[in-house]
């Protein structure tokens, strides 16, 4: 086993364990912490593939900003331990079915693909900062700007909803 492969298995295992623990944990803060572990393990996987910029942004945006907001909101609301209702217990059955279906689908896709799965770093061209900015601001500039407008609209909507009581 080569060193990158070993690192891959450690990070992938960490991501899977984090994801499972995210579901099984009873307290929202513990679930949020598990999600952070998943985000950071994913960033490590990106780094392994040579996508340094994406890895750093993954940690800054998802691991830092978004998850801090999650933790902040959970702390602010002082959310307690999860309670099971009869509906949440019933939701387990279709959930299990969905898991089996999804796993089967992923396995089938991997089995059908003729090319061998690549886990080696790409050459710096595609994943480098220059490559990504060329893609965002040259090749896909209109979709990118449209997405920013979408986010802006969402932010405005949130502001309007929050201020509704005043008017």
């Amino acid at each position: 086993m080569t060193a990158p492969l070993a690192v891959f298995f450690v990070l992938a295992g960490l991501a899977v364990i984090g994801a499972v623990s995210l579901i099984l944990q009873k307290h929202p803060i513990h679930s949020a912490l598990s999600l952070i572990v998943v985000m950071i393990a994913l960033a490590g996987l990106y780094l392994l593939l040579g996508a340094e910029f994406v890895a750093a942004v993954q940690i800054i945006v998802y691991g830092g900003a978004i998850m801090v907001l999650f933790v902040f909101v959970i702390m602010l609301l002082n959310a307690g331990i999860e309670e099971h209702t009869s509906i949440s217990k019933m939701a387990g059955a279709p959930g299990l079915l969905l898991v089996v279906a999804l796993a089967g689908f992923v396995a089938a896709t991997i089995a059908k693909s003729t090319e061998s799965v690549q886990a080696t770093p790409q050459s710096g061209e595609i994943a480098s900062t220059i490559g990504i900015s060329n893609m965002i601001f040259k090749d896909f500039v209109y979709p990118f700007e449209l997405t920013s407008f979408l986010i802006l609209v969402a932010v405005l909507g949130a502001t309007v909803l929050a201020q509704r009581e005043k008017s």
Partner: protein, 416 residues
């Protein structure tokens, strides 16, 4: 056995060098942290016309050691009702992240050549292309230490402190990241080494201090420094631990060494911020003088030798016997170091970079202490308004102006 060790060393040389470097850096940083507390207490005391620590050792120099021993041997109670796992995780996270961020700082331009290996000062490889981004990634995670400590203590004051600090760090992180963009645009790279080299202006070696980023990016520097002070929870932004309102804020329920871990984390992030300020805006390891002024290479000795002699002179008249032994010894070490820098031209050449970087870091650390001795604390609404209504717009304005100037240069003067 010896042959086995030597083959292992030659096969894994990089690994061994890195581990040795990590241990050395940890030792240096923890020592510097300890003496930073001494420095801070001493400087603030003199600003308030007090003496500061002066009982333990000559001039109170052994006070950090006494504090460290006290931290180690104090009782370490775990309050009832805390969330055990998160309660123990929080100080660990805070300390680990603060120390990790220092690993990404390059401390000098030239490698030392030892046993056939080029050893760079600094743990991360000097060609790390995402240097500054990786640093921001680590700082972004630093919020968790404080927030989780506040939450897991299951007590009112820590929770309020944790909430305040999360809100403050989220708000000021935006401004901090935006204010650096101007520097990145000018250097065209995330690499900390390239950012410093861009400030050297290879075509105009006589610029010296005038070539540093702080002149064209003064607005960026202002925003960065203020936001960075807020990120490290220091005065005047130390609301998370405002004594008069929140007892001790997020670490109220922590005692003994777990409290010391938060303490060390705070001081380490002060050092990191000082490193970043000097690297991004003040030319890092570059000398402020034009390249042709070679006489300035003796400046380290000109400072060290008189300082060492003064410590000797002060030491032989010191009132305790212990001081009369220790202080002249320390003074001789300083003066000897200064003499070595004069007598060995190779060493003199090598220490120029680290000397300037360390001097700049020292100046910023002094500014931190100076602010603590001078400024009162912000009110919470003032803090939020300052971050969102002043710093963030200013830093965005800085990005826009800088990119327009760079574009104009490319269009009309064909630079780059």
């Amino acid at each position: 056995m010896i042959s086995f060790v030597s083959t292992f060393l030659s096969a894994n040389a990089e690994l061994v060098i890195t581990i040795v470097k990590i241990v050395l850096l940890l030792f240096i940083v923890l020592t510097v942290n300890a003496y930073l507390t001494w420095f801070e207490r001493k400087v603030v005391a003199h600003m308030q016309t007090r003496w500061g620590p002066h009982r333990v050792g000559p001039h109170g120099l052994l006070q950090p050691l006494a504090d460290g021993v006290k931290f180690l041997f104090k009782e370490d109670p775990t309050p009832a009702g805390v969330d055990k796992f998160v309660y123990y995780l929080a100080p660990l996270l805070a300390l680990a992240l603060a120390l990790t961020s220092l690993a990404l700082i390059p401390f000098g331009p030239d490698p030392i050549r030892l046993f056939g290996h080029d050893i760079y000062l600094g743990i991360a490889p000097p060609d790390l292309n995402i240097g500054i981004l990786a640093l921001f990634a680590i700082t972004a995670l630093g919020v968790y230490g404080v927030a989780l400590a506040g939450w897991s203590s299951n007590s009112k004051y820590p929770l309020l402190g944790g909430l305040r600090s999360s809100a403050q760090m989220i708000s000021y992180e935006l401004a901090m990241t935006m204010s650096v963009v101007g520097v990145l645009l000018m250097a065209g790279s995330f690499n900390l080494k390239k950012i410093i080299e861009a400030q050297a202006h290879p075509h105009h070696p006589e610029l010296g201090i005038l070539g540093w980023n702080v002149w064209p990016q003064f607005l960026g520097f202002f925003c960065f420094f203020v936001a960075a002070v807020a990120e490290t929870n220091r005065v005047p932004f130390d609301l998370p631990e405002a004594e008069s309102e929140l007892v001790a804020g997020f670490h109220t329920e922590y005692a003994s060494f777990k409290f010391a871990m938060f303490f060390i984390a705070e001081y380490t992030s002060m050092i990191t911020v000082s490193c970043l300020c000097s690297i991004l805006f003040f030319g890092g390891w570059l000398s402020p003088f034009p390249a042709s002024w070679t006489l300035t290479h003796y400046l380290p000795s000109v400072i060290l030798i008189p300082f060492g002699l003064w410590v000797i002179w002060d030491g032989i008249r010191y009132e305790t016997v212990f001081g009369r032994i220790i202080l002249p010894g320390v003074g001789t070490a300083f003066a000897g170091l200064g003499a070595v820098f004069v007598l060995l031209p190779n060493v003199n050449e090598f220490i120029q970079g680290p000397f300037w970087l360390l001097s700049k870091i020292f100046v910023f650390l002094f500014v931190y202490v100076w602010m603590r001795g001078t400024l009162p604390r912000f009110r919470y609404d003032q803090l939020m308004a300052f971050g969102w209504k002043l710093l963030l717009p200013l830093s965005i304005l800085n990005v826009i102006v800088t990119s327009f100037v760079i574009l104009a240069k490319m269009q009309w003067w064909g630079a780059r």
